[in-house]
Point group: C2
Chain length 147, copies 2
C-alpha cells in the first residue's frame, strides 16, 4: 500500500516539475491519504484524516489540492448524488456501486463493458474521455437495519 503511494508520489513529482507546480507538504500528505483510502472519501473526510499529519491544513487546501490532482489526472470525482463530493485516488478504469442508503461506494470491474465498444452515436457526438458504470442499490448492512 505504501508502494502504491510511492508510485503516485513520483508521478506527482514529475508532473510538478513539468508544469511549474511546487511539491508541497500539503500536496504530498493529501496524496498519501487519498492513495491509501479505499472508501472514496469526501473532501471533509480527507481533511480530518490529513489533519492528523498536517494539523494546520485548511479545508480549502484540501479542495484546491483535489482540484489540482484532478487536473493532473491523479484523482477523479465519483459521479454520485449526495451533497458531498466523493473522490477517488484510483484513476484506472473501473466502475462503482453506491448504496443510496448509507452512501458507501465500492469498486468493481466489468470487462465486458470496459473492453466493449461504445455505440457509434456516442463516439460520433463527442470525443470520449471516460466511461464508467454506476450501479445504485441498497447494501446488505442497510438492508438489515431499515427503518
Amino acid at each position: 500500500m505504501e508502494q502504491h503511494f510511492q508510485k503516485k508520489f513520483n508521478h506527482l513529482k514529475e508532473l510538478c516539475s513539468q508544469k511549474g507546480l511546487r511539491l508541497t507538504h500539503q500536496r504530498t500528505e493529501v496524496l498519501r491519504e487519498l492513495a491509501s483510502a479505499k472508501d472514496h472519501p469526501s473532501a471533509e473526510t480527507l481533511y480530518s484524516r490529513v489533519k492528523g499529519r498536517v494539523p494546520a491544513i485548511s479545508l480549502d487546501t484540501v479542495y484546491r489540492t483535489l482540484g489540482t490532482f484532478m487536473d493532473l489526472g491523479l484523482a477523479a470525482k465519483v459521479p454520485v448524488d449526495g451533497d458531498l463530493g466523493r473522490f477517488d485516488g484510483d484513476v484506472s478504469p473501473h466502475h462503482h456501486v453506491v448504496c443510496v442508503c448509507c452512501g458507501a461506494i465500492r469498486d468493481f470491474i466489468w470487462d465486458e463493458v470496459s473492453c466493449g465498444e461504445l455505440p457509434a452515436e456516442v463516439t460520433d457526438w463527442c470525443h470520449v474521455t471516460d466511461t464508467q458504470v454506476i450501479v445504485r442499490g441498497i447494501c446488505r448492512d442497510c438492508k438489515g437495519s431499515d427503518s
Copy 2:
C-alpha cells in the same frame, strides 16, 4: 410528444390518489415540461420554463415537486458532476453521455450492457435498483470553439 405526457399524467393521477397526494396545477405543469424536455434540465431551467405557464410558481416548488416525482418513480436525477442537479423525465433504462465542457447531456442505449449480467460481487454486496453507464467527453460543438 403530448401523448407521452398524457401517459405520465395518468400515472401521476393514479399515484396521487393511491398515496393521498394532491394533483395540483404545479405538479401537472412541472410534469408536462419535464416530459417534453429532452435536455435533462436543471431545476432552475425547469423553473423558468414552467413560469411561462404558472407565473407565480416558486423555485422551491420545482425542487419539491422533482423530489416528489423521484419518490414516485416519475423522474430521476442524472448522476453527473457540476453545481446544478440535472433531471430526467424518462425513467426507462438508458445511459448518458455528458460533455464536460458545455454540460450537454444526451441519452443512448447500449443493449450489451443493459441486458448483460452484473458481476456477482455487485449483486452480492447490494440489492441493485439501477444500473447505468456514464460517458464523459467533449462534444463536437465544444471541440471547435476551444479556448
